[in-house]
């Protein structure tokens, strides 16, 4: 595409009132694109103003300097074949400042605006129109792993939407844990009474569905490939296969193996990059492998495993399914005694609900003398489950109290339960026939690969210890998404949840799988940059096989060959650019986002070399939360430090350290990265980006130190989107530190 440029300055929304319009237009011309101004570009007239140039002059690359690129996106969308670059003069400049007291234009503010104009022009000059990456062949089949409620629902929902589904279950029959239930929670108004399990109907429906292929007694040996082209090898449950997923081998371990100093853990297994010619192709995977009941014998004072008739809720359910339960039963919800009020691990609200359900068995089986004691620290009955709680509470033989259970002992043909800190005001001793412990539901992904990927980064999900083993990439922000694109989780692997929640979950995961397949089919990113047509392009002839990109990709999108050259899988990719930030050779770029582009934008910032008042700080801003926070700060008309220049980046992970060097060598006085929180409660949209970036910044700090520059000139600040009001102060503080250090000594060279 031959680019024909047009640059437009909007003077509305107060921009023209505080800035020198002609000065901005001159800056654009100086940078290479002549600029026109209009009082309201987003209006019908303004749009016609631009469209006229498109029609008359064939303009196809448009620079709009006005409001934030986060607003008015439809107004400035001129079609797929037209590039629009936005310069943010409103939220970042005009709304953060004002005229001087004497009514003249503030030169600091004007310089800010001209820099943003130059950066926008530079960006337009460096960007290219993206062409989506299309797979040659695509499978639209969905693989569902696990035949319990979650898997059955996901299969059924995907089939309803018209997709072929294969459902694998390692047991001999479908149904999962629900097969062992005597009753299930109420599912319809008034949510008062337990219902007979519907699992057999669900199984029958799936079995009768022509779009669903059921494989029982079967496991997934490995999943290779990428969304749209997953190559899946099945095997008989429990058997070993040469196609089992290979364990992760690091570069260092591979060296040792090559030298014969370490045994290859993957001996006898096919290499992870080898595609099984007999493997079945799938577009996406729903992981619904569920949970296992927790072992609670470590809580010695409760006596599980030592005292007869101290059972777990799972064991009690089995008893109840097979016959009558005892008349006097205590349900213990929390194991911590007086010291700790936490419920059993991995319980969520489910064990509260289960205790209520099982209390009903007690009074149902023993109508005259049934007594069920529920001793809880937390009674969690969310949503409509509250109605069920109320109906159970109303039963004469159900007794509940918040309580610390300190000991269970056997004595005189009964069990004695010591209860302290309860609502009755005195310590209690209950005499019961059975004690039921509210053991949690441990996700199958805790401690096992489960998903069995044949990926460079290993067969399991990464960093699940952040989520206690739940297969998640971010529970709140990205439901059903795992760290592996194309693999969506639901049911017990995602959270301990009730059947109702599981059905919702499984439906969501099935829709996610479909979204992924269709996105792959159109060659665009699925999430969180949904619809992004770009993808990382590798200039392989200059690759040095350093493996940084393959190691750092948060999503395991890159495999590699024997030599270590990356093998991209664009449909696994989420377009965060972490690989681009990692590459020391700078050979990884996107059509509209490249090392050269951002570097040139940085260099287009004018750095006065003779004015100690006018220091310059480049701030690389994550587009996901930090950039909107700056916009919101502007919308609130908060002042903004006039020495900083914001440069939007896809993710801090995509920040290549060469940009920092560019900034410092062009005489800027500091560089700051502004991105999401990382660590335990991370908010990074690409999971690892901000963490990796802060590590890189530590390293560059050292480099600066060796050049005689203060390492503190480069910083990273984590902010949440809600921090918009604190943002000006955070920026001011950083700039003040720079001011205290004085100008960059290399300024002007």
């Amino acid at each position: 595409m031959k680019k024909v440029y047009g640059a437009y300055l909007c003077t509305g929304c107060g921009i023209g009132a505080v800035l020198d319009v002609d000065g901005l237009k001159d800056a654009a011309s100086d940078a290479g694109i002549a600029m026109k101004d209009h009082a309201c570009l987003c209006g019908a007239e303004g749009r016609a103003f631009i469209e006229k140039d498109i029609a008359d002059q064939g303009v196809n690359t448009i620079v709009v300097c006005g409001c934030s690129p986060r607003v008015m996106q439809q107004e400035f969308n001129f079609g797929e074949q037209t590039i629009t670059v936005r310069g943010n003069l409103r939220e970042h400049v005009a709304w953060t400042g004002s005229l001087k007291d004497d009514g003249s234009v503030d030169d600091f503010l004007q310089e800010m605006a001209t820099d943003y104009v130059r950066m926008a022009v530079t960006r337009a000059q460096k960007t290219e129109l993206p062409a989506p990456y299309k797979l040659e062949t695509i499978s639209k089949k969905i693989l569902v792993m696990g035949g319990g409620i979650a898997g059955l629902t996901a299969a059924q929902e995907a089939a309803k939407a018209g997709y072929e589904v294969t459902l694998v279950e390692k047991e001999a029959q479908l149904g999962g844990k629900a097969l062992g239930w005597r009753k299930m929670f109420p599912t319809a108004y008034p949510y008062a009474d337990l219902e007979n399990p519907s699992i057999q109907n669900m199984v029958a429906e799936v079995q009768a569905n022509g779009k669903i292929t059921v494989k029982t007694g079967t496991e997934v040996a490995r999943i290779g490939g990428a969304p749209g082209q997953f190559n899946v090898t099945f095997k008989t449950a429990g058997a070993a296969s040469e196609w089992d997923a290979p364990a992760k081998v690091t570069a260092d371990q591979q060296d040792l193996i090559n030298k014969g100093e370490l045994e290859d853990p993957n001996k006898g297994l096919q290499k992870y990059t080898t595609a099984n010619p007999d493997g079945e192709m799938f577009g996406a995977v729903v992981l619904a492998t569920g949970w296992t009941p927790a072992d609670v014998s470590q809580y010695e004072h409760l006596g599980h495993g030592k005292i007869a008739n101290v059972v777990t809720n799972a064991e009690f359910e089995k008893l109840a399914k097979n016959g009558k339960v005892p008349a006097r039963v205590a349900f213990v919800q929390s194991p911590g005694g007086k010291e700790d009020d936490k419920d059993f691990p991995y319980c969520n609200s489910v064990t509260s609900m289960v205790a209520l359900k099982q209390a009903n068995y007690v009074v149902e089986d023993n109508p005259v003398d049934g007594k069920a004691y529920i001793l809880y620290q937390h009674m969690r009955t969310p949503g409509n489950a509250e109605f069920f709680y109320k109906s159970m509470q109303a039963k004469d033989g159900v007794f509940m109290t918040k309580a610390a259970v300190t000991k269970v002992t056997a004595g005189g043909g009964a069990l004695l339960v010591d209860v302290e800190d309860n609502l009755l005001g005195e310590n209690l001793q209950l005499e019961v026939d059975m004690v039921v412990l509210a053991a949690g539901m441990i996700p199958t992904t805790a401690g096992a690969n489960t998903i069995n990927l044949a990926y460079r980064q290993g067969p399991a999900f990464l960093d699940l210890d952040l989520f206690d083993g739940y297969a998640d990439s971010h529970f709140v922000c990205f439901p059903y998404e795992t760290r592996r694109t194309g693999i969506y989780n639901c049911g017990g692997v995602r959270k301990a949840e009730t059947m109702d929640e599981t059905i919702d979950d499984a439906t969501g995961a099935a829709l996610k799988a479909i979204q992924c397949i269709e996105s792959a089919n159109r060659g665009v990113a699925v999430h969180p940059r949904s619809g992004d047509q770009t993808y990382p392009d590798f200039f392989f002839s200059r690759c040095t096989q350093c493996k940084r990109c393959t190691e750092e990709c948060p999503f395991g999108a890159l495999d590699d060959d024997e030599k270590g050259t990356p093998l991209p899988n664009p449909t696994r990719c989420r377009r965060c650019g972490t690989c681009m930030g990692a590459c020391p050779e700078r050979i990884i770029n996107f059509a509209d986002y490249s090392i050269d582009m951002i570097g040139s934008m940085v260099k287009s910032i004018e750095v006065p070399d003779d004015d100690e008042e006018k220091l310059r700080v480049a701030v690389f801003v994550c587009e996901n939360d930090a950039y909107p926070a700056i916009d919101m700060s502007g919308m609130h008309r908060n002042k903004m430090n006039r020495l900083v220049r914001f440069i939007p980046v896809r993710c801090l992970g995509s920040v290549n350290m060469v940009w920092i060097k560019d900034a410092m060598s062009s005489g800027m006085d500091g560089a700051l990265l502004l991105g999401c929180k990382y660590g335990d409660d991370y908010q990074c949209h690409f999971v690892k980006g901000s963490e990796i970036a802060s590590r890189r910044m530590e390293n560059i700090g050292e480099t600066l130190g060796s050049l005689g520059l203060e390492p503190e000139r480069c910083g990273v600040r984590e902010i949440a989107i809600t921090d918009y009001d604190k943002l000006p102060a955070i920026i001011d503080e950083f700039v003040e530190e720079i001011v205290a250090m004085g100008p960059n000594p290399f300024k002007g060279y």
Binding site: D396, L423, E426, N427
Partner: protein
């Protein structure tokens, strides 16, 4: 102290039948204890009573003074987020306790259900009718005689001057009833006091107040407080009840005085001066008191009656327990006044019939006192005395620890 928990499922069921059918809805937020104007910061209620009731822990509840300290003003009911109606539950507990402390048990059980109403009326009706039959006085007097002696020859007349025949019969009926009631209340009050003192670990201690000390330090102040209706006035939702309850209390006191006076004048002084027999003079101050009290009794009861109707319209399910006492008192007041009016206008036969009904209602009031809501006159007073005792130096005495 560890409580061995033995929930009484029967108690829970009885509770639900006796107007506490909402008790299981409580989820222990303690809004009630905060809302209650009578509950103290250090001994709050009724939150704990609710869970004790839910758990069927009858023995703890019977010995719990808070159950009786509750005046059922309804502030907690209005604010309860779960519709658990704590005030009603406490009322049901009281009904249950009066019944379970009542002696003889058969009579106590009889008083607990509306379906026994014919029997409850039938017992005094038959007793009095039988006494009337055997008294030989079973004829209507002439109008002239009626104007002179009124109902004092209801059970006939003899010339034995030490004891009028009528007095004998009425004493047999009424003192018999009162005797049963007093014995029953004595038993119940002792059990309650022992339970309450045991609940604070004070049942077997060295230092206890003597009876005069008890009366002076604890009982009398409690009675003064009751007369002033201090606690009733603290209620916000149902403050109107004071207008009904207070006249009623004073009416009872007035009528008690008149009855004692009449007893003394007619049955003691009358022995020496037979002219003292017969109705009190309409113009004497005592009769004035009697008439004012009778009117106050009817007015007070009407107000309480209306109040209950209003509560029912607002959704409270009043139980037989709540209504029975109102009915009896209304019966006593209306028939008493009507009998007097009929005497004054000289309608003999109707007057006699109304008087008969009056005797029935008075006997019901006395005989059923320990098992109906009327028992609160003793048990609540005792609990209010206990409340003072609990805070006194007797309990705080280290030697009593």
């Amino acid at each position: 102290m560890t409580m061995n928990v033995q929930p009484d499922l029967e108690f829970i069921r009885a509770m639900k039948e006796a107007g506490g059918n909402t008790l299981k809805q409580c989820y222990q937020c303690a809004t009630c204890s905060v809302a209650c104007p009578l509950s103290s910061d250090t001994k709050p209620f009724p939150r704990k009573e609710m869970i004790l009731a839910q758990w069927g822990l009858k023995d703890q509840l019977i010995a719990d003074p808070n159950v009786y300290l509750c005046h059922h003003c309804g502030d907690c009911i209005a604010l309860c987020p779960r519709g658990a109606r704590p005030g009603d539950v406490l009322g049901a507990i009281r009904a249950y306790v009066y019944r379970s402390l009542g002696w003889p048990k058969g009579l106590a059980d009889l008083c607990s259900k509306a379906k026994n109403l014919p029997v409850l009326i039938g017992i005094p009706a038959v007793v009095i009718f039988f006494m009337w039959l055997i008294s030989g006085g079973m004829h209507f007097p002439s109008g002239e005689q009626f104007a002179k002696v009124g109902y004092t020859h209801f059970f006939g007349h003899w010339d034995f001057r030490l004891l009028a025949k009528n007095v004998l019969f009425i004493d047999i009926i009424m003192l018999g009833s009162v005797g049963i009631a007093v014995f029953s209340l004595y038993k119940g009050a002792s059990a309650l006091w022992n339970g309450m003192t045991a609940s604070i670990g004070q049942n077997e201690v060295l230092y206890r107040p003597s009876v005069p000390q008890f009366i002076k330090q604890f009982l009398w102040p409690a009675i003064l407080e009751i007369l002033a209706h201090k606690r009733f006035r603290e209620c916000t939702i149902n403050a109107d009840r004071v207008r009904g309850h207070q006249p009623l209390v004073w009416a009872f006191i007035g009528l008690f005085f008149v009855t004692c006076y009449s007893l003394f004048v007619q049955d003691v002084l009358g022995i020496f001066w037979p002219s003292m027999h017969g109705p009190l003079s309409m113009w004497g101050p005592v009769k004035w008191v009697a008439n004012v009290a009778a009117v106050a009794m009817i007015m007070g009861t009407v107000i309480l009656w209306q109040n209950r109707n209003k509560m029912e319209a607002a959704g409270t399910a009043n139980t037989f327990y709540d209504w029975f006492l109102i009915w009896i008192i209304m019966g006593v007041g209306v028939t008493g006044l009507a009998a007097e009016v009929l005497r004054l206008v000289g309608v003999v036969s109707l007057g006699y019939i109304v008087y008969y009904v009056h005797l029935i209602s008075v006997m019901m009031l006395f005989l059923y006192l320990p098992y109906t809501k009327f028992a609160h006159i003793v048990y609540r007073t005792l609990a209010m005395a206990f409340e003072r005792y609990r805070e006194s130096s007797y309990v705080k005495n280290p030697l009593n620890g």
